[in-house]
């Protein structure tokens, strides 16, 4: 089943120099392991291919049911050097939530995940 990340997580992002950080938080605690399993470093790297110029770092915060990603080279130089509308990386959060996950039907049913609209 296709599940949209925006339906199972919320997020906030910010900047540090030319790096955007995106914190992804499970909407329900029992959805955190699924998000933790799907949002690998490689998956996030692939998601932001063509959007960022640097690498991705990943940190887990199981205490907050959250993952933190550092997206390097995300902000066109960052801070005042950047020409971007989103020079401070404020909406990389919602860019992350555009991700769609492939979840086995059984697992999706057990967890009560909302299916992506057709």
């Amino acid at each position: 089943m296709k599940v949209r990340l925006v339906d199972i997580a919320h997020a906030r992002s910010g900047d540090k120099g030319d790096t955007a950080n995106v914190g992804v938080i499970a909407l329900r605690p029992d959805w955190y392991p699924l998000i933790d399993a799907h949002l690998t470093r490689d998956r996030v790297r692939a998601h932001f291919a063509g959007v960022i110029t640097g690498d991705v770092e990943r940190y887990a915060l199981p205490n907050l049911k959250a993952l933190n990603f550092l997206l390097h080279g995300a902000l066109d130089g960052g801070g005042t050097l950047s020409l971007k509308t989103d020079a401070q990386g404020k909406v990389f959060s919602t860019a992350m939530l555009r991700m769609v996950l492939d979840v086995p039907d059984d697992e999706a049913r057990t967890l009560g995940l909302p299916p992506a609209p057709a």
Binding site: H10, A11, R12, S13, G14, D15, K16, G17, D18, T19, N21, G23, I25, L27, H47, F48, G50, V51, E57, Y59, A60, L61, P62, N63, L64, K65, A66, N68, L70, D76, G77, G79, T80, L81, L83, K84, T85, D86, V91, S93, T94, A95, R98
Partner: protein, 459 residues
Amino acid sequence: MSKTPDPSRIVRVASGQGFWGDWLDAPRRQVEGGPVDYLMLDYLAEVTMSILQKQKERDPAMGYARDFIGAMESVLPAVVDRGVKVIANAGGVNPVSCARAVLEVARRAGATGKLKIGVVTGDDLLPRIDELIGAGHSLTHMDTGAPLSTVRDRVLSANAYIGSTPIVEALAKGANVVVTGRSTDTALTMAPLRHEFGWGASDWDKLAAGIIAGHIIECGAQCSGGNCLHDWRNIPDLANIGYPIVEARADGTFVIVKHPGTGGRISVPSVTEQCVYEMGDPNSYITPDVVADFTTIHLADDGPNRVRVHGIKGRPATDKLKVSIAYRAGFKAVGTLVYSWPDAMDKARLADRVLRERLDRMGLRFDQSLTEYVGVSSTHGPLSVASGEAPEVQLRVGVRADDRQMVERFTREIAPLVLNGPPSVTGFAGGRPKVEEIVAYWPALVDKSVVQTSVEVLS
């Protein structure tokens, strides 16, 4: 400073300003809406110091966050009559002048002698840069590794981020207002807790708790329902949003609350969003006072608009301080035009091609240029999914160069497109784009031992 810890005693630190430019009404609302012991006001962003430095060069009495003077006016009765104490990094590059301006506010209000202002100095490294470089402190850029000598002649300001110790010292000397320069945002919250509860300089877990309390409230309403994605439609009464307050105890646990009758929402999701804001490695949140571990934070629902925070662990601080350096980094300008249906996006793309061809033909070579299509892909780039035809598109083109003339020339090329480019174009009422000098941020580290802070109490 050493007080008998009473486990039931609560100290309330209220956040009244998350950045310079935040809601002017918030400080007054925080001291009038219910009980608070301290009002914490954060005014400094990364390049604020350089703006203040420029102001000080023009007028030696300036160089601090002017909004703070209005804020002090609005909270003066609470400070004078009810003993609320104020801690702010509004001093910028001129904390002494800032303190004098606040004393003047008190004098005008007939409260002469009622304020004792602790002024923290020593963070300003600008006069010492050559001495530091000469002594082997290369002030290398933390991200790029370049030594500061590469931009030395363009440096505008240099300030060490200082921790809670001088603020605690000011409070111990009886200050009821503390004005600092480049303190860390989090120290403004942690210092009063350290002072009230007598936490030692190596009570790592408690210091870390104070730092995380500071992190949660340092952006004002961003933890109490502002900019909150979780359930945003149902967050009540944003027009009347309540700014956050830390209710802290001596053991390092605390509850995030807001005043009764205010709007917004404090919930585990709203506080979690703020916890991850601007986060690096959550295992090591490095401050001058302690290294806090965000993976040890536990949040629990503690009733309506109350979130309890506990379990926080910290580790010894490093022997370095971060230094915020600002330097001149060329010029930039951004021009915009709006194209309407039909085929808005195609028209905007054609206009961009025409513009670039002209700039190219003039031989203008920018260090950086960027085209965005606002309404289509400016925020999510290639991740954006077009759903149907855009009714309108804003073309937004930015350029950056060391040469001001080159950027000026660019700004003359936007308006002509209205008459000599693709059709259905509007939105040029603002006139020619403004050329802006770029002041860029250079983060570095320096040995703690070279920075000496001092505290003076004025009244």
